[in-house]
Amino acid sequence: MGSSKVIHAFYNDDEVLLDAVKTVKAAHHHIEEVFCPFPVHGLDKAMGLAPTRIAITAFMYGITGLSVAIWMTNYMMIQDWPQDIGGKPSFSWLENMPAFVPIMFELTVFFAAHLMVITFYMRSKIWPFKKAENPDPRTTDDHFLMEIHVHNNEEELTALLAKTGAVEINVVEKH
């Protein structure tokens, strides 16, 4: 890294921010982070972020849930203690399968939903009592902040950011 200095450019409009991100990308600067009070459509694309794979994980969690449900109903109702309950055929899992479908469905959804959310928390590093990583409280209300690392090019970066319509540009020491 060399320097631990970063530059914070503030914007007060998401359209201006998007154009600024494109300008900075075009000038081949690496954007460390952008802080927004709300989701800005197209920001991930403008920054060139890789698409999320969370849907793929959810699909696999769903299959896991389905497998658990099949294993559980088969073990409990067919293998372990196959009773005659109201004349339901407990000779094989398939014969009694329609009765298990609601469980299979719900466990598929349960696993897919909850494990996906937990995955999201882990990947985003969010948990209770976590210290907020907010460089400026205004970014949760009405300001957008772009953070760029400074590598001995402070003047150049400041000039570039000033051109993009930033309302405030600060150079701060990051630890």
């Binding site: 998401d14 359209e15 998007l18 800005v40 459509h41 197209g42 694309k45 698409p51 849907a55 699909f59 004349g87 329609p98 009765a99 479908v101």
Partner: protein
């Protein structure tokens, strides 16, 4: 303007002629007398056909002579029903698809949806198929009820409502306030009239909308007409499914049947919209349709495939679970004699589309949508086959010339009606206030060449 090409016209006419010849052949080769039907069954039995031998030996050995004669007559009626049923399955399928495209179109108007406006002319063109299929349905209704030409509906047989007749059916007689021939005929004609009236009105006024320039007055009129139609549609669609499909098994009833038929037709209708859209776009006739529109159609196909499965399973599981004999017979007949189509359709209508169309990237690829769509359409044809055939031909079902030529016949009519109608109007509904939104519609994560929204709003 789109030009209905000569090649496509020739194809549709060829399909109609081939189909008509096949239908004619199947009617010609159906048995005319009980003797003939016995011979045909015996013939089949000697070829080792399991259905035939079961019936032939059953008739020969285990029944007394009176029962025997009754059985022969039963088999004779089922065999006579075969060409009618083959025609009827395809007819209901194509009529229903056209109707559901109309209903989906009305829902898009009522929802004031922004994405689908560029597809309005495609949907309108598909509903043109409602006219020929309605006319054929009218003929079937009249020939079934007034003229008694076929035995599709067992309760229309003579003496069903007459306690002194040996055909007397006390259960059906108890339902005679609804299931009677005049009422059934009149209701059928009324449904067809209502649907066609809305179609005629909305098509005329949708074209009028293009040049109206009257502060959206025409647009609002179309909106109100669509609201009314949707109410009428929900009522008539339920009753239609009781009259035309559930009535084939007059001893059986299911409360969610209307919804089930609706779901099956709706997913097929959306698939057909996607197919016609993809075809017309490939011919350059729909310049403002992009992959995001295809993506939305595929999402609907996916969603309603799941919805169909939900209703299919709900109907099946509730009846299976409670196992009340008068309800269960419906599925016993299907599970014993139609096991392959009955189970295959769940794979075709659920497992296949859910695995193929769950991926967002796949949904925007016309190629994938077509693969998924073909299986979905075939699956829902099988669905209607399994709904209709057990009540009319029982165990004597097969898929042969009669069924195939009926499908070809109605595909031919479909192509002719749809594309000649599409060629008659501006492919872009220029007067619709949501047109601009629809033309600029982009689903956020589709990144194809030239399909990136420059507008961040």
């Amino acid at each position: 303007m789109y030009q209905f090409s000569g090649k496509l016209k020739m194809l549709s006419l060829a399909l109609i002629i081939i189909g008509a010849l096949g239908i004619g052949f199947s009617f010609f080769s159906a048995p005319k007398t009980i003797e003939e039907s016995k011979e045909m069954i015996a013939d089949q039995a000697s070829h080792g056909d399991s259905h035939g031998s079961e019936h032939a030996t059953g008739a020969a050995n285990s029944h007394d002579s009176q029962h025997d004669a009754k059985h022969d007559e039963h088999v004779f009626h089922q065999m006579q029903n075969k060409p009618w049923s083959a025609l009827y399955v395809s007819l209901i399928f194509f009529l229903g698809i056209s109707l559901l495209v109309l209903a989906f179109y009305a829902s898009q108007r009522v929802a004031q949806s922004g994405w689908s406006v560029v597809l309005f002319r495609v949907m309108e063109a598909i509903t043109a198929n409602l006219i020929p299929t309605s006319i054929i349905m009218l003929l079937v209704i009249l020939s079934a009820s007034v003229l008694h030409w076929n035995h599709l509906f067992s309760w229309m047989a003579e003496g069903t409502f007459d306690p002194s007749s040996e055909n007397y059916d006390a259960i059906v007689d108890g339902k005679s306030w609804w299931m009677n021939v005049p009422g059934w005929t009149i209701r059928g004609i009324v449904y067809l009239l209502l649907w066609n009236t809305y179609r005629w009105f909305i098509r005329k006024n949708s074209i009028a909308e293009d040049t109206a320039n009257d502060y959206n007055k025409t647009y609002k009129k179309n909106y109100h007409a669509s609201v009314i139609f949707l109410v009428v549609f929900m009522l008539t669609e339920s009753m239609m499914s009781w009259d035309w499909i559930m009535g084939l098994d007059p001893h059986w009833f299911s409360t969610l049947f209307g919804w089930y038929v609706l779901a099956s037709l709706l997913v097929s209708a959306l698939t057909v919209i996607a197919f016609v859209t993809i075809y017309l776009r490939s011919k350059g006739a729909l310049p403002s349709v992009n992959d995001s529109h295809i993506h939305d159609l595929a999402k609907f196909m996916f969603g309603f495939s799941v919805f169909w499965t939900y209703l299919w399973f709900s109907q099946f599981m509730l009846i299976w679970y409670a196992d009340i004999p008068e309800e269960t017979t419906y599925f016993v007949a299907r599970f014993n004699e139609y096991k392959m189509p009955f189970l295959a359709m769940v794979v075709m209508n659920f497992v296949f589309p859910i695995l193929l169309l769950i991926n967002s990237d796949f949904k925007s690829k016309p190629w994938f949508v077509i693969i998924g769509g073909i299986v979905i359409l075939a699956g829902h044809y099988v669905d209607f086959f399994v709904m209709i055939m057990p009540g009319t031909v029982g165990s004597l079902w097969s898929f042969g010339i009669a069924e195939l030529s009926s499908i070809l016949f109605f595909i031919g009519i479909f192509i002719f009606a749809v594309f000649s109608s599409f060629a008659k109007a501006n492919p872009i509904p220029t007067g619709n206030p949501f047109l601009k939104e629809s033309e600029n519609f982009h689903y956020f994560n589709i990144e194809h060449e030239g399909e990136e929204s420059t507008d961040h709003h």
